[in-house]
Amino acid sequence: MSIFVNQNTRLLVQGITGREGRFHTSQCREYGSNVVAGVTPGKGGQSLDEVPVFNTVTEARTATRANASMILVPPAFAADAIMEAIDAGIELIVCITEGVPVMDMLRVKNYLALKPSRLIGPNCPGIITPGACKIGIMPGPIHTPGGPMGVVSRSGTLTYEVVHQLSQAGLGQTTCIGIGGDPIIGTNFIDCLQAFEADHETEGVVLVGEIGGNAEEEAAAWIQANMSKPVIGFIAGLTAPPGRRMGHAGAIVSNGMGTAAAKLAAFRAAEIEVCEHLGELGSLCTKAMAASRT
């Protein structure tokens, strides 16, 4: 089992003929993802490494029954690409693009609420169900199929670090999701936690947060009220200076809000296992999972 993606995922890539699109499409296919179509306006009718390219998402979906899309287009076109995928009825939309204007995402996020599609990202590494389907730019080989851990994170390489430690510790992953580092993102922690809670194979979840906003606080409250499985939490940015955006557009402490300290406090209040030192995450998870099984 897994959440959101599996071996039945039929992937479409928006921006497939760009440099990034082409490269990551080949990487996803190499990992075993079923890439059924690509979209680049004006290149319809061509094909790229045997993947047929279409002019519009609707055409691509009609022809190939794609049910998921990976978006790798420049920031100026990302909102348009997401809404095109929504209107075409794509179930899962994963937007990798970094630097999408917040005002665009304000509209997209509200439009999304009118429609059944799920959006992951933007500004995210993507989602992977190890051994089944990879949609994104994460390195495949660090992952281990079969669970028991679910991973959800606002970050990219930090997630790889976490996954790597889990794999090293002998803890495989059901699904790993980078929800994105932007202020406004499609799928949030709670959406993922809810899905992990419902997924039989997932026995515990690692939640990787960072400064900015209060998504971690809300997640903590949700976990306390609803989650039966152990959650191990980590927060990046204890030493981040206030008022500065730390790389991610969403990673900023402003007016004393969104500090790592407040988030850790919320975790502790919700009785979430807190990982203080990133280097110890793997061993902490081993211990937590062992404890939960007894």
């Binding site: 990487q27 920031p75 100026a76 630097g99 999408v100 204007p101 917040v102 005002m103 995402m105 304000l106 509209r107 996020k109 509200n110 439009y111 590494p125 730019i137 994460m138 390195p139 080989p141 660090i142 994170s153 606002r154 970050s155 990219g156 390489t157 930090l158 997630t159 790889y160 670090e161 790597h164 580092g181 202020p183 406004i184 990787v208 960072e210 400064i211 906003g213 998504a215 980590f234 990046a236 940015g237 204890l238 030493t239 981040a240 200076p241 500065r244 955006r245 730390m246 790389g247 991610h248 557009a249 990673a251 007016n255 004393g256 790592a260 203080e276 030192h277 990133l278 280097g279 110890e280």
Partner: protein, 387 residues
Amino acid sequence: MHLHEYQAKELFRTFDIPVPEGRVIRKRSELSPIIDELGLPLVVKAQVLAGGRGKGGGVRLVQTADEANDATTAILGMELVTAQTGGQGKTVHSVLVEQGLNIARELYLSLLIDRDRAEIVIITSLDGGMAIEEVAASTPERIIRIRINPLIGLQGYHLRQLAFGLKLSSQLGKEMATLVRKLYRLFVECDCSQLEINPLVVTTEEQLSAVDAKVEIDSSSLYRHPELAALQDPDDQDPLEAEARDIGLNYIRLEGTIGTIVNGAGLAMATMDLIKQAGAEPANFLDVGGGASSEMIEKGFRILLSDQQVTGIFINIFGGILRCDVLARGVVKAAQKTGLNLPVIVRMEGTNVDEGRRILTESGLALTTVSTLNDAAHELAALRDLR
């Protein structure tokens, strides 16, 4: 990207939003014709990107030409220390000289984005001139919050909530509605992240005027606002940060001594935390991007080497799709090219890590190579003790 007060007010003018008459000067000699033009009283205001300028002595009301001269002399070039500048303060390179107003009432008005609910929020308060956080803490009932769904935009009922909430007269309520419509349009069209007017003044003539103006523009949107991008003030940035930005690096200077080079923002923050936990202080945040090409690492080295405070460097790279062996060659090449002579700890993990570590070890460079973050922490502690 933050705008200076005078830039924000220029922007307000293009949207026909009322602000006091004023001129910006960078030299005291420019003051005299402005006094003639604007008359007295005047307000002289330091133009630095930090709140709390008034308390720091950066804003002065002057009644005479002599006072205006004295104020300008005092403020121009001063190191203004406020609650938001840090202890070192910020150098004042320019002042805004504005006409004084006959103030009847001071209100507070701001627009911001609620990231969790994906709405635009207007916050207004009866207590202009006070920090909104203080009002929120002491008299929250004097604050009105109006949530606007961006898909429907500002509607009549939002404006009524505002006008009735602020207990404005019918006439002033209409003026406020007009003002807020313009502000909302500016906020959306200019991709603002935040916009604050504190105080928004009601004059004794029953006119509204934005006596202060703070505007932050979403940096991701600057590609579609070349006119706003051009307002970026080089004076107001740390020179190293400005340089890093120009060469495409995501760099923030801090006060510590351990320079860091990391691929990815989250891992970079976590790396700073790790340095601190090891008892040292990070000298910077530096994200060379998920890909971490050798060019980016070389650029990172150059920036770090320009920072005189840096006594050691910690490179933390998680090799993903870009393999560790390629990364290692990049690090070696960059170290050689920049003539790096500081102690360097390299922690590298991910695809092809063994080959990567071998390349680092055999490079002949003074690199300490570690594999786990725990090992890195030990080496960092050693580096700290060395110093």
